[in-house]
């Protein structure tokens, strides 16, 4: 393999792919990035064996071929080369020679055959969505992903096709759901073309975070490919392929209450600020905040034997019977931060039953929150 590439392009691509390469790696081949040069493009691949990122950049190819070389070393070299310089990569035998201006580096390589293969095989399902939609699906659910390992099937976002009632008719939607058993986030969007038959898959947390990172500089259209065992996201020049969580997501519809009748509407920003203030007093461990509701007045309060107590009143719209209910302030803040409109609607039943939180203006997201005894 022999190619010439612009330093900036090499640096940017290496920056993307090397983020999945762990610094301390006991397996030598995993510290390497796979370079494959063909058809006027250099493809760089890095993997931690759970997910794989491939980025293609245009390059001038003198001799097609492939090689693997230490990712971090290559990145550090590219970083230190002067801006605007041209880099020549020449792999022969088990040596990669990098030349740029008057600098020359020789790096040891490992056989390409030793490199993990993740991208093989046809994925079966394929659909496209906009970067904004994908961003929304991830941002509004990722806070609820569980980190507890015993219920490993909750350690990711459950993505599947479903139907929702809108104006009396069933509308097909693409749904993303995450829960940790205390709270649940469900976000939906109109079902993209080609997504109707997709299997329900659980995308692992690490993959979600990696995709989210790439979304910031991605083009507008993201292609998603799915199979029972893998998911692939294609941004314009970057492809991320990942394993999935091998498990069954619980029947979450069952925990979304339907008979809640006590409705409170509040400005989410004022509410979040008040909760945050009052929660200063609540104990580190429970972080409990009590909500006392009576005709259009919400009283937030917190008590702790060590720190003292706090109360704050807030004007809300509430017409049902008086109610006292407690929540974990952290969870309340996480959820209200997701609501962008000026109204958050809390639908409650009693102090022991789950509460539904929604954006008054936007029906696509729904949050369920378990109360705490206070």
């Amino acid at each position: 393999m022999k190619i010439t590439i612009e330093r900036a392009a090499l640096l940017r691509s290496l920056g993307h792919v090397q983020s999945v390469v762990e610094r301390r790696n006991t397996i030598p081949i995993l510290s390497n990035v796979l370079l494959r040069a063909e058809n006027g493009e250099l493809a760089l691949t890095a993997t931690d064996m759970d997910l794989e990122i491939v980025e293609s950049v245009p390059a001038e190819i003198a001799r097609p071929g492939s090689a693997t070389a230490p990712a971090h070393t290559l990145y550090d070299i590219a970083r230190k080369l002067p801006d605007g310089s041209q880099v020549e990569l020449d792999a022969t035998g088990d040596l990669l020679t990098l030349r740029s201006g008057r600098s020359q580096f020789k790096l040891g390589t490992l056989p390409v055959e030793d490199f993990p293969a993740m991208s093989g095989g046809d994925m079966g399902h394929r659909f496209a969505l906009s970067a904004a939609d994908l961003k929304m699906l991830i941002d509004r659910t990722k806070f609820a992903i569980s980190t507890e390992e015993t219920r490993y099937y909750l350690n990711g976002i459950y993505v599947h096709a479903s139907k929702t009632k809108a104006g009396g008719a069933d509308v097909p939607v693409l749904r993303a759901v995450a829960t940790d058993g205390h709270r649940l986030a469900r976000v939906e969007m109109p079902l993209p073309d080609g997504a109707s038959g997709i299997p329900g898959v659980i995308v692992p947390r690490k993959t979600v975070l990696e995709v989210r990172k790439l979304l910031d500089e991605a083009a507008d259209r993201i292609e998603v490919q799915l199979s029972e065992t893998k998911v692939r996201f294609t941004f314009d020049s970057i492809t991320l392929t990942s394993k999935l969580i091998d498990g069954t997501f619980p029947d979450y519809e069952r925990v979304i209450p339907t008979g809640n009748d006590k409705v409170m509407e509040v400005d989410p920003k004022l509410f979040a600020a008040a909760v945050d203030r009052v929660a200063t007093i609540s104990t580190e461990k429970s972080r409990a905040v009590k909500l006392s509701l009576d005709r259009n007045v919400l009283t937030l309060s917190a008590n702790s034997p060590e720190a003292g107590s706090a109360t704050e009143e807030l004007e809300v719209s509430y017409g049902a019977a008086a109610l006292e209910i407690g929540f974990n302030s952290r969870y309340l803040l996480d959820i209200t931060q997701q609501i962008e409109g000026d109204g958050a609607r809390f639908t409650m039943a009693d102090a022991g039953s789950p509460t539904i939180v929604r954006d008054v203006a936007d029906g696509s997201a729904l949050y369920v929150l378990m109360p705490m005894r206070v």
Binding site: T26, E113, D114, P116
Partner: protein, 370 residues
């Protein structure tokens, strides 16, 4: 970060050559072909006979062939595979050899960079990597395989961490455990695994393998090493690298004088062995001495001399364990053997002075021989 077996072409992860375990292979293959592969296997047997090599061989087979479509062809279903053998140049085999196969997880003792040796036990944190691995789908679409090399080195919490997975194994997951000592495995794990007992290799097989892995060795020495190692090619190679045969000869030279021990020669022998202060020669000398005592006790119990490892060994054994001494010798040699092995074990755990420990062992042999 690199452990010494990283470049060893005969490390089980890379070695596609396995002899003497055809029966065990057949059993694995039949179980696979039956379509009801058990998810956990305990591959048991003495150290160095190819347990891990068999585990990796199975892993290679499952990862190379397991993903292939077994659906009916135009002329009926293809015949089931006849052997576990996989071409070492097969892409899956290449990736397994480089530790770069995303559907294979290896759990083994970690290399201690500071002390230049493997840690004594398999830490629970290593074992805990199994669950997250098996809870993700397969990267190449087929099976996921976990090889636990030295499963008996897991402590109870490690074993319990593994038990969680054996109790509720995910589909298309295979856990292969290589163990030297099945007794150290919790009964709860044993009862959930299929046991595969591997026998020590025949002397001829070890001699053949020595010809392959240590081609510089002459045949006489190879036979001697094969006898010394009792059917374990791993042990034979270890002894060969640690100069075990010369050590054994030197040891016998010293013991030759029994029932009198030449104390000056003993000091010199100990100094020679422990010069360099390296782990390999220490473990070789303790192992050889223990093994020789065991042999002595056995000879005295059976009243029959084992084949000589090195020439001239017979008369010594006969003298120490011969019929005229029979009434007392068996008990006595068993006792000496027990005491020395315990002493050696304590030398490791309590960091005793190795010189004194060796001298002590030799003196106790002298006392028993009197």
């Amino acid at each position: 970060m690199t452990a010494p077996d990283d470049d060893n072409p005969f490390a089980p992860r890379r070695n596609t050559h396995l002899v003497g375990h055809e029966k065990a292979e057949r059993l694995l293959l039949d179980s696979w072909n039956s379509g009801r592969m058990h998810h956990a296997w305990l591959i048991a047997g003495p150290p160095g006979i190819g347990k891990a090599t068999l585990a990796y061989r199975m892993a290679r087979f499952v990862l190379a062939k397991g993903g292939e479509d077994q659906g009916a062809g135009l002329f009926g279903a293809p015949p089931p595979p006849e052997s576990l053998s996989v071409d070492p140049e097969h892409p899956a085999a290449r990736r397994i050899a480089s530790s770069g196969h995303a559907d294979l997880l290896t759990i083994q003792r970690t290399w201690d960079e500071k002390r230049k040796r493997f840690k004594r036990d398999l830490p629970v944190d290593e074992v805990r990597r199994i669950a997250p691995f098996l809870r993700l789908t397969a990267a190449e679409g087929g099976w996921r395989v976990v090889v636990v090399d030295g499963a008996d080195q897991m402590n109870p919490s490690g074993q319990n961490a593994l038990l969680k997975i054996l109790e509720e194994p995910p589909p298309k997951a295979l856990i292969l455990m290589a163990v030297d000592n099945v007794g150290a495995i919790l009964p709860t794990i044993r009862s959930r695994s299929r046991k595969l007992h591997l026998e020590p290799l025949s002397e001829a097989a070890v001699v053949n393998l020595l010809g392959r892995y240590a081609p510089d060795l002459d045949r006489g020495d190879a036979v001697a090493l094969a006898r010394l190692s009792e059917g374990s090619i791993g042990r034979a190679l270890e002894l060969h690298q640690a100069g075990g045969l010369d050590l054994y000869r030197a040891m016998l030279g010293l013991l030759e004088g029994m029932p009198r021990l030449d104390i000056l020669a003993a000091y010199k022998f100990i100094d020679d062995v422990l010069r360099g202060n390296d782990e390999a020669s220490w473990s070789a000398v303790t192992e050889l001495l223990g093994w020789w005592l065991q042999r002595l006790a056995r000879a005295s119990a059976r009243q029959e001399l084992p084949p000589e490892v090195v020439a001239g060994e017979g008369p010594l054994l006969a003298r120490l364990a011969g019929p005229d001494r029979r009434e007392r010798s068996l008990d006595r040699w068993v006792e000496v053997w027990e005491n020395t092995t315990r002493l050696f074990a304590r030398a490791d755990s309590a960091n005793l002075d190795r010189r004194q420990v060796l001298l002590n062992a030799l003196l106790s042999i002298e006392e028993a021989a009197a």
